[in-house]
């Protein structure tokens, strides 16, 4: 190759061959940018107070204001961007994110599956998006019907008789479930003080129990990664209100003694709360209602594919057993004589035999998420949903099988939709779980969930989901095997410590961020420009 081939315009059509003595990747950058990786300042660095990207009609100066003496006189300091500047700012920022659409995102416990775009289109239908929550019921019959239809799907899929739709995320659902449990127990005249939580539980479980006014105690896991039934039974007593169990649990295992757990609890007058974050492993196949569960939240933003949006929004409807069904938050939907309405008032609920425990938020739930999840459920149908759990579980087991001889799987036997490894395979390599995760980033993968659950050392929880092809899984597995070998080779320790190196930013100093919190931009000098 000579590099001198030219077309008829005199434009070179082959790259120059690299001379042996020049390292082309080390060139000093003038802008700080690196090709498609473009540095982007804060809006406060380049926005201006007198620029706006929104045009309005001219205000009518003949209207006399009625702000009394409340009119704002100070400058807020908000920079504005014209539309082209704004579009560029946010597109550039978006390019600094990894996403499901970018690549495999095996973040255990988070179910990072493909988010179908049909759902987005449906949520943006004028007749859903432009509805106000306080419109007269007769003007929102289709919206109430949608929520009721989704509620039916959730009840059938879980085999539970009731569902509270208003919780806004998983943790909010936990709160709803525990409030229902508390209301039920108090109604029996049997207020209890303690909620037991499995030691492998997500942090929201103990935090929620505390929010609901309970003392929290942990129940240990056995060496096979499941709840220690004997320890649980030993702790049960007249002070225990409920046990919070995640099933499948956060070690990626099915709690095979769940029915015994439920029976033991019920016998002791307590109730079983199930964290349903991992419902994706069993949807369309197993009903929590057949397992003795009293309350379970479902993260619609996991199992039912509503996008995580960089941290939310979610939705966390809670299914309830017969015993808990009367204890619901307000409002809820009533379907009578072909008409839908919202029961918003306690008296009305009580007339119907309900025992509502209050209100969890303004209005009545995450409608935008409801439309998306119903669209997802209808697309799959019962057969498709069963295939979802089958493929999710198969994929995780496939990853487990192929990595078994390379990484250290924490627990024997088939896993559910995610597989847990610990850091034993990194022993004496000088490479930590964190280093390993960061090295994956340079290879184009989002790391798995690390250091959670807390029951094994240096946890790595891999959830591939059902929306990866076999080729994609194989490439991922091959990459992990190669990284494992590199770590064990003893020659790459420093490279692991330095990873990632190909990202917009390298490892960040979290200690400095926490010690000296800088949580907002501040002007160096007071804003001199006044607003119009």
């Amino acid at each position: 190759m000579t590099g001198s081939t030219m077309n008829r315009q005199g434009r070179q059509t082959q790259p120059h061959a690299a001379p042996a003595n020049v390292n082309v990747t080390q060139t000093e950058m003038i802008t700080g940018n690196r090709g498609l990786q473009i540095e982007e300042g804060l809006i406060f660095d380049h926005g201006k107070l007198d620029v706006t990207g929104v045009d309005f009609a001219v205000p009518d100066d003949t209207v006399e204001h009625r702000l009394g003496n409340f009119a704002r006189t100070s400058v807020i300091g908000l920079p504005g961007l014209s539309e082209p500047e704004a579009v560029r700012h946010y597109v550039r920022l978006s390019q600094k994110n990894f996403s499901i659409d970018t690549g495999l995102y095996p973040l255990g416990s988070c179910t990072m599956k493909h988010n179908p775009r049909l759902n987005e289109k449906m949520a943006r239908l004028d007749g859903f998006m432009n509805l106000h929550p306080m419109q007269p019921h007769k003007t929102v019959q289709g919206a109430l019907e949608l929520i009721d239809t989704l509620a039916d799907w959730l009840k059938v899929l879980t085999g539970m008789p009731a569902v509270a739709m208003s919780p806004k995320a998983g943790a909010h659902g936990e709160l709803c479930g525990l409030m229902a449990i508390r209301a039920c127990l108090e109604d029996r005249g049997d207020a209890r003080k303690v909620v037991l939580v499995s030691d492998s539980a997500h942090g929201t479980n103990p935090a929620t129990a505390a929010t609901c006014g309970y003392a929290v105690e942990a129940i240990p896991s056995t060496r096979d990664g499941r709840v220690d039934l004997a320890a649980l039974k030993a702790r049960l007593g007249p002070d225990v209100a409920a046990f919070m169990l995640t099933n499948p649990n956060t070690c990626g295992l099915f709690e095979r003694e769940i029915i015994e757990i439920s029976e033991a609890l019920h016998e002791a007058g307590a109730l079983l709360y199930c964290d349903g974050a991992n419902f994706n492993a069993i949807v369309g196949r197993v009903r929590p209602g057949d397992l003795g569960v009293d309350a379970m939240h479902i993260n619609l933003h996991k199992t039912f594919s509503t996008p995580h949006g960089g941290g939310g929004p979610g939705a966390g409807p809670v299914v309830l057993s017969e015993a808990l069904a009367p204890y619901v938050p307000l409002p809820y939907i009533k379907h009578e004589l072909g008409e839908y309405s919202l029961v918003e008032i306690e008296e009305e609920a009580v007339e119907e035999g309900g025992k509502p425990f209050g209100r969890l938020s303004a209005f009545h739930g995450q409608m935008g998420m409801f439309v998306r999840s119903l669209s997802y459920m209808m697309s799959h149908g019962s057969d498709g949903l069963r295939q979802v759990s089958d493929d999710a579980v198969l994929s995780a087991n496939y990853v487990a099988a192929r990595l078994k001889d390379h990484m250290s799987q924490s627990f024997e036997g088939p896993c559910m939709h995610e597989v847990l490894f610990d850091d034993r395979f990194l022993k004496d390599t000088g490479v930590s779980t964190l280093d390993f995760a960061k090295a994956m980033i340079d290879e184009g993968y989002h790391p798995m969930t690390v250091y959670f659950p807390l029951v094994v050392s240096g946890a790595m929880l891999i959830e591939p989901t059902e929306t990866e092809s076999k080729e994609s899984l194989d490439q991922f597995i091959d990459t992990l095997i190669a990284l494992t070998e590199r770590a064990k080779s003893g020659t790459a320790e420093e490279a692991f410590h330095q990873a990632p190196t190909m990202t917009p930013r390298r490892r960040l100093d979290e200690t400095q961020a926490a010690r000296n919190p800088v949580l907002r931009w501040l002007p160096d000098t007071p804003t001199a420009q006044a607003a119009e």
Binding site: T52, R72, K96, H132, A362, P414, H446, P504, A513, A514
Partner: protein, 448 residues
């Protein structure tokens, strides 16, 4: 099935690699009693076209804002969202990423959060803000808990200006703590004496401005009294656009400001998802709930962002966390932030003026009708009127004439007798002169 990439040959090969004969062998841990369930009552898979038809059919049964004159507010407001906002939030990398746990590949989301926190702090007149809560009402409930932690007191006064949904959310959240809530009767005319309710056992007083009735509330005296007695002032704002025209809660002495951010960037969506704003003073940050993004440097010394102060949070602190929140309203916060960046100071102020004028024009016209009286003399884009007859019947009659005229006070305060004639009306930049004329005309007809 269009969303599932595995083929049957793939599945067979994978089962073989796993060393089992069938997929059922992977579910051996499921108790016998729960196996073999059939879901015959549910439909089978459906094409895009079919799903689209069914859902569009449901959507078409609703009467949407904008299809006719529309004046409903009461905590959620109908505003125009620029086309670029919805386009940008659908960028794959924003839409389909998780909470930014790996900062090196999440600088986009993190920088957005840092900008969002700054915008919220500026707008509310506070020093710092967090990365969002579920919505305004849950943010208010968290603020009450935070104030009790800071003051180590348990008495909290809920003003009669407060949206009843917010009040009830706080009450429900405090049902199982040893807090002592004092609920004031509804305050339509902004005449309650906030100062007299604060004593030296008070942790906080919660006031909403504009109030649920739309009235602007003076907070300065209450702030002074609260601070003299060692209590905190929590200010609730359900219409964030108001802060483009009225003095910020921070300027009036607030210690914690919680707000509903839906009005910027987010559609009405029949009540959710929305975005809770949470702002406070720097000295209280370690008691704040929720995620917070902070500035730092990377290994090369370059400016970058991380989630920080996580020792407050559930994943570290478990039952001792300041809140149980995990997932928040990231994408709605992004929409809020993009809309506000497009507006800037200049655009926000103009938007606020247009809202105010739209409401003033409507209030003036309505009050020219015989026996219709304005109850809230100072307001932003929402006000309350007294009607000569029952507001429930009138609102229904107006809905029959395709005018969605507002929220009757009796829907929000069903427990209060004597509130039946009051109607809470909002008008925004979306309403035209024709809309307002149609409202006035229809009301005259109905009252005739």
């Amino acid at each position: 099935m269009r969303y599932l990439p595995l083929t049957d040959p793939d599945r067979s090969a994978m089962l073989q690699a796993v060393g089992v004969a069938s997929i059922d062998d992977l579910f051996v841990d499921v108790p016998q009693a729960a196996r073999g369930v059939k879901f015959d009552d549910l439909p089978r898979f459906a094409s895009e076209l079919s799903v689209e038809r069914q859902l569009t059919h449901m959507a078409n049964k609703n009467m949407r804002a904008g299809s006719s004159p529309f004046f409903i507010g009461a905590g959620a407001y109908w505003h125009h969202v620029p086309a670029s906002v919805d386009h940008l939030i659908q960028r794959s990398e924003f839409l389909t990423s998780y909470t930014p746990y790996q900062p090196e590949i999440s600088q986009g989301t993190l920088q957005v959060l840092f900008e969002f926190q700054t915008q919220v702090a500026m707008l509310t007149g506070m020093e710092v803000a967090n990365a969002s809560m579920y919505d305004g009402s849950t943010a208010a409930a968290e603020a009450v808990k935070m104030a009790m932690r800071i003051t180590r007191r348990s008495r909290v006064v809920l003003s009669g200006s407060l949206h009843p949904h917010y009040r009830d959310t706080i009450v429900t959240n405090e049902a199982h703590t040893d807090s002592e809530l004092e609920l004031c009767p509804h305050d339509m005319r902004g005449s309650e004496d906030l100062c007299s309710m604060i004593d030296d056992k008070t942790a906080a007083i919660v006031v909403q401005t504009p109030s649920v009735f739309g009235g602007l509330i003076d907070l300065e005296k209450a702030a002074r009294t609260a601070h003299e007695k060692g209590a905190l002032l929590i200010v609730v704002v359900t219409e964030i656009v108001s802060l483009g025209a009225v003095r910020s809660p921070g300027e009036m002495g607030a210690d914690i400001v919680v707000a509903e951010g839906q009005s910027l960037g987010n559609g009405l969506n029949f009540g959710g998802p929305y975005v809770g704003l949470f702002a406070t003073r720097q000295k209280y940050v370690r008691q704040m709930p929720g995620r917070v993004c902070g500035e730092t440097v990377d290994a090369d010394g370059k400016r970058g962002y991380v989630l920080t102060l996580s020792t407050r949070e559930q994943h570290i602190r478990r039952e001792k966390a300041t809140s149980n929140i995990c997932t928040n309203s990231g994408l709605c916060a992004l929409a809020f932030s993009i809309h506000l960046s497009l507006l800037g100071e200049k655009g926000l102020r103009k938007l606020a003026i247009l809202n105010h004028q739209s409401a003033v024009k409507l209030a003036n016209a309505l009050c020219e009708i015989d026996q219709v009286e304005l109850v809230t003399p100072n307001f932003f884009n929402e006000f309350t009127i007294a009607l000569p007859k029952n507001a429930h019947r009138i609102a229904n009659a107006l809905a029959d004439r395709d005018v969605l005229c507002g929220v009757r006070a009796s829907r929000l305060f069903p427990e209060c007798p004597g509130i039946g004639r009051y109607l809470i009306v909002a008008a925004t930049e979306m309403n035209t002169d024709e809309d307002r004329d149609a409202f006035v005309r229809a009301l005259k007809e109905v009252l005739r």
